[in-house]
């Protein structure tokens, strides 16, 4: 599929060209992997399911506690960030970044990436 290879290319470029980004994956809202560029130690299938699960819970919390549309879920760990954002109706984006990454810049880059991916996910 042309589209899948384009998505792959964009994600690949994102991970390699931006410093501090350690991985990224695009998954369906029900947790199936579409494209992933992840450290080899990570299980693609489980990572996809986890991203979908946490985003759905976060969105449900946003709704329950009247926080409006959820922009992103951030899991900040000792060793870095996992960021989950909704990427239109048909996909969820996961980005892994190192602890040294500046949060503001990271969110900005993710926003750009989502804007680039959206038209392809149509």
């Amino acid at each position: 599929m042309v589209q899948a290879s384009m998505l792959n290319e964009i994600i690949q470029k994102f991970v390699t060209s931006i410093s501090g980004i350690e991985g990224a994956a695009l998954v369906t809202p029900d947790g199936l992997s579409l494209v992933s560029v992840l450290p080899s130690s990570m299980d693609e299938e489980r990572t996809a399911a986890m991203s979908a699960a946490i985003l759905s819970l976060g969105e449900r919390i946003g709704q329950e506690l009247v926080r409006g549309l959820v922009a992103r879920i951030v899991v900040e760990g000792e060793k870095g960030y996992s960021v989950m954002v909704s990427c239109g109706r048909d996909a969820v984006l996961l980005v892994l970044a190192s602890k040294e990454t500046k949060q503001g810049l990271l969110f900005l880059e993710i926003k750009r990436l989502v804007r680039e991916l959206m038209p392809l996910l149509g």
Binding site: T28, D30, G31, L32, A49, R60
Partner: protein, 180 residues
């Protein structure tokens, strides 16, 4: 006030979300997403990706909290999270889909290897075409030798009385641990 926490588990389409929706007194917190897996999407629209949560007040002293798990094995980390927090569980099995019995057995083994808590098996879709008889399901699930007293009940997840009956059967299994 005592909170009895139970999990409702089983394969995709067994009736977990419906079970909780049917009996919960609060609007169920669900996390359903459209199914993209083509094999399943042909017969089911949505699937739970994190959990379902519902509540039922039994009396002035007891409340039941119900946690529904996702059905697909890729979400087994959610099974861990939920099962470590509950006191008992129900495994729902759709008896008109024998191709799912292996999956049900897998869930059963997975859980039994991790926690020892009261449980029952609820057979759903007994009213559907191609439904297996109870004894045959018990055989297919490999329950004949071990778990002799394990209750296996029919339940229609869409029927409040039937769901209540099933829940009561589970509560009867309760062996409150002596507090030390």
């Amino acid at each position: 006030m005592e909170i009895l926490k139970i999990a409702v588990t089983g394969n995709v389409g067994a009736g977990k979300t419906t079970f909780i929706r049917t009996i919960s007194e609060i609007e169920v917190v669900d996390t359903e997403r459209r199914i993209t897996d083509e094999k399943i999407a042909s017969w089911k629209e949505n699937t739970t990706v994190a959990l379902d949560f519902g509540r039922l007040t039994l009396n002035s002293e007891q409340i039941v909290h119900m946690y529904g798990t996702p059905g697909q094995a890729r979400f087994d980390f959610m099974w861990d999270i939920i099962l470590n927090k509950v006191h008992a569980y129900i495994l729902l099995v759709a008896v008109h889909r024998p191709q799912d019995f292996r999956g049900a057995r897998r869930i059963l083994t997975y859980i039994n290897q991790r926690v020892q808590i009261p449980m029952i098996i609820g057979l759903t879709h007994t009213d559907c075409e191609g439904a297996w008889q109870k004894d045959d399901v018990i055989l297919a699930l490999g329950l004949t030798n071990q778990n002799i007293d394990l209750p296996v009940v029919d339940v229609n997840a869409e029927n409040p009385n039937s769901v209540a009956q099933c829940l009561l059967t589970l509560l009867e299994q309760w062996q409150p641990k002596p507090t030390t």
